[in-house]
Structures are given as structure tokens and as C-alpha cells.
């Protein structure tokens, strides 16, 4: 999966949990928690959606690797086969 595709998948999962998020104004390089109203429970829901769609299961120790949308996309892109 390309980083651009991965970013789309990630943002789609995010907007399902936080419908007020506007994909157009989301800054891929700004800390996710600084620009989106999500709590730890919301994050688990986002990760569960990503797991269902991509098969990538983000372990707890890797949460920090998803700090910004772009980092999260890179993380996914690296691990999704094909």
C-alpha cells in the first residue's frame, strides 16, 4: 500500500470515530491529539477499524509511532501487504 493510500485509509477510520473531522483541513504533520478531539477509547476504536480494513494490528507499544497522520500512514503502508 502506498503512503497516500494508507493516509486515506487512516483518515477514513478517524472520521468514522470523530465525524466532525474535516479531511481537507487535517494537517498530516501535526500531532493527532493536538488537532482532533479523540480520547484513549476513541483511539482503540480507530485502531480496531484499521485492523478490520488492513489486517494491521497496532500493539500498545507502537502507539507513539502513530503520533501524526503522516506517521500513522507510513506505519500502515510498511505493514500492509500488496
Amino acid at each position: 500500500m502506498s503512503p497516500d493510500e494508507a493516509l486515506q485509509v487512516f483518515v477514513a477510520a478517524l472520521t468514522e470515530v470523530a465525524p466532525e473531522v474535516d479531511a481537507a483541513t487535517l494537517d498530516p504533520d501535526v500531532d493527532l491529539f493536538a488537532q482532533v478531539d479523540i480520547d484513549s477509547m476513541d483511539l482503540l476504536t480507530v485502531l480496531e477499524i484499521l485492523r478490520e480494513r488492513t489486517g494491521v494490528d497496532v500493539p500498545e507499544d507502537d502507539y507513539a509511532a502513530l503520533a501524526t497522520p503522516r506517521l500513522a500512514a507510513a506505519y500502515l503502508a510498511e505493514r500492509v501487504e500488496g
Binding site: 465525524p19 478531539d37 480520547d39 482503540l44 494490528d57
Partner: protein, 368 residues
């Protein structure tokens, strides 16, 4: 129409979940009602068979007015002689099966737009307020969401002002070493998919419930100026709503659940509450409240007790701090707990015993 808060005067019936002939049991969700506090799933107070729905979707009913007649249960939610509900002018009932945000439902109601005719652009195809405004061709008055926010803010302010005015609060705080609790969470979550993972708040919720059973002076409500302890422990969990505002839906019988059950309830309840969707029993049945700030916030919260309860436990973000253990200074993850409690029900000695008990349970999490 049930009273879903001390300051509620009326509610808007959004949709029915039952129809004539249906059997309902106490606790079943029978209708969706909108109030200043958000969208609430109203539950039946009694068992019975639905004879007649007395209020149309889209109509507003005052608190105490019957909204449904049950055979074998009488009329629900008020005296039979109360005046009938007055339909809201020009409004249509919201379509029950369309996925839409609460703001969109309100906007659709105001504009007379059927949600089923609107293409949704939100998550999972949900219809958003903007979608409704587009569909209505700009007919929806702007600022409906803003009005909702102001109403919610007024409602919170009224409730908090009443708490501050009537409840003689006292405050205590204590710091807990969370090393063992976090190790338990990490071990438990390893290899589990995100949907089955625990968050530390579930442990705090459980510790509060067990400690509240041991110190009943913090668990209950004030009725007619006097404290009444409750045998059940229904812990309200303060949840920040999307778009602003806070609600504290009660999770019933936390003292009788295991951690897995607590976590699945936390997940379900907070997911709904974040979107402003509560059940009536969650608003009325709480016996104590937990305000947990979660990750990335501040170290301590001094809460306002949720009237008519008598105690609110605050939990800050888990932060690393220097900690003295066996005469040595170490860096450990810590949690700053606070207690706001009502002097009509307890005083500092018992409140302190309660908070120490919560701390001990979190430091020996295998007891949770």
C-alpha cells in the same frame, strides 16, 4: 415524559422504538428523546404491553405527561390527567433508520427535511448538519448547532451552580504508584486486538466501586436534605462530549463485575456518551462519579459533585514522578487521585479512608 435531570421541563420525542402490541419490560429502551443534555434513550419504568403511543415523533412533551399507554402497566411517565403533548409546528418525525448526527436530526426537524432523502457525507455515511443544510437549500436557520451548545452549557451551568450552592464540599487528594496497575494492563493487552484492550480508567472505575462498597458514606444520594446510602454501586463516568459539554452516564453495579465486563461497559457507554446519546437510567441511577482525565491532560482534577450524589473521584493523567520506595528515589508512573465529598454524608476521616482504599486496590491490582 420522564424527568432526565433536575432542570428539564420538556423533551422532544425523536423516535419510537416500540409499537402497539409490543411487550416491554422494565429497562427496555422505548423511545429516543432529545433534551438540552443531548439525545437520551428513554427506558420503560414498568412491564406491560403497548396499547397506544400518545406522542407523535417530532412532538414535544412536558415532563410528567404520559407518552405511552401500557396494558398491565398503566400509562408511563406521568399522571393520566396531564395535558396532551403539543406537536411542534411544521415538523416531521425523524426517520429512525437513517444514520445521522444529533445536530443533523435537529436541523432536519427545523427545516422539514426527511433525513432519508439526504445523502450523508459523515462517518459510515452519516448525515451531518451541513448535509441537511445543503439539502434544505439553505432553508435551515444557521447556528442551530451553536444554539444546542448554548443550551447544553446553560444546563451544565445550572446543575453545577446548584451543586456549588447546596453541597458543602470538602476535598482530599492522594498520589498512587501505578507501576503494578500498568504492568497488569500491558500484560493483559499483549497480543489482544485493539477492540479487546483494557484502558487504565477501567481499573480506576473498579477500584472506586470496591472502595465505595467498604465506605458507604460516599456512595448514595441526598434525599430531602438527608443522606441515603445505596446498596448498589453505580459509578457515573464523566465523559467529554464531542463539540463540548460533559455528561456522566452511570455504569450500574461496577462492584459486581470483573474487569473485562467493566471495560466493555466503559467502551459502550463512553462511545455513546461522546456522541451525546444516553439512556434515561444512566442519568438517574448514579451513586458516585469518576472524572478521569485520561492521557495527555493535567495531573489533578478537583471535581464538582454531581447532584444529588455525595462524592466525585477525580483522576488526573498518569505521569512519571520521582517516588520514594524503600529509602530510595525512583521514577514511577503515578496517578493523582482526588475526592470531592459532601459534608452532609461524611467527613475527612472517612473520605480519607475511602481514597486510601482506592489507592491500595490500584497498587494491588490483582484484587480488582
Amino acid at each position: 415524559m420522564p424527568s432526565l435531570g433536575a432542570d428539564m421541563e420538556s423533551g422532544l420525542l425523536v423516535e419510537w422504538r416500540i409499537g402497539p402490541g409490543d411487550r416491554v419490560s422494565r429497562g427496555d429502551v422505548i423511545a429516543v428523546v432529545e433534551t438540552d443534555k443531548g439525545v437520551i434513550e428513554a427506558e420503560a419504568f414498568v412491564d406491560g404491553t403497548v396499547e397506544q403511543l400518545l406522542v407523535e415523533p417530532g412532538a414535544r412533551a412536558d415532563v410528567g405527561v404520559p407518552i405511552v399507554r401500557l396494558a398491565g402497566g398503566g400509562e408511563s411517565n406521568g399522571p393520566a390527567a396531564a395535558k396532551p403533548a403539543v406537536p411542534v409546528d411544521g415538523s416531521e418525525g425523524a426517520s429512525p433508520r437513517v444514520r445521522a448526527t444529533p445536530g443533523a436530526r435537529r436541523a432536519a426537524e427545523r427545516a422539514g427535511v426527511d433525513l432519508a432523502d439526504v445523502a450523508g457525507s459523515g462517518g459510515r455515511g452519516a448525515v451531518t448538519e451541513a448535509d441537511v443544510e445543503r439539502a434544505a437549500g439553505g432553508a435551515t436557520p444557521e447556528g442551530d448547532e451553536e444554539r444546542r451548545r448554548r443550551a447544553l452549557r446553560r444546563s451544565i451551568a445550572a446543575l453545577m451552580a446548584r451543586s456549588k450552592r447546596e453541597i458543602p464540599h470538602y476535598y482530599l487528594a492522594h498520589t498512587v504508584d501505578m507501576t503494578a496497575a500498568l504492568a497488569l494492563v500491558a500484560a493483559r493487552n499483549a497480543g489482544r486486538p485493539p477492540g479487546e484492550r483494557l484502558v487504565p480508567t477501567a481499573l480506576v472505575l473498579r477500584a472506586v466501586a470496591l472502595a465505595a462498597r467498604e465506605v458507604p458514606e460516599v456512595n448514595g444520594t441526598v434525599v430531602d436534605g438527608g443522606f441515603v446510602a445505596n446498596e448498589r454501586v453505580n459509578v457515573g463516568l464523566a465523559v467529554a462530549m464531542r463539540g463540548g459539554g460533559v455528561v456522566a452516564p452511570a455504569i450500574a453495579d461496577v462492584d459486581r463485575m470483573d474487569l473485562e465486563e467493566v471495560m466493555s461497559r466503559v467502551r459502550e457507554v463512553s462511545g455513546r456518551a461522546r456522541r451525546g446519546l444516553l439512556r434515561s437510567s444512566e442519568i438517574t441511577d448514579g451513586t458516585i462519579t469518576l472524572s478521569a482525565l485520561g492521557d495527555r491532560s493535567v495531573e489533578e482534577v478537583h471535581g464538582v459533585i454531581f447532584h444529588p450524589q455525595v462524592a466525585l473521584v477525580g483522576a488526573g493523567s498518569i505521569l512519571e514522578r520521582p517516588w520514594v520506595r524503600d529509602g530510595r528515589v525512583e521514577i514511577v508512573p503515578t496517578l493523582r487521585l482526588s475526592l470531592a465529598a459532601d459534608h452532609r454524608a461524611s467527613d475527612g476521616r472517612r473520605g480519607g479512608a475511602f481514597l486510601v482504599r482506592v489507592a491500595r486496590l490500584l497498587e494491588s491490582p490483582e484484587e480488582l
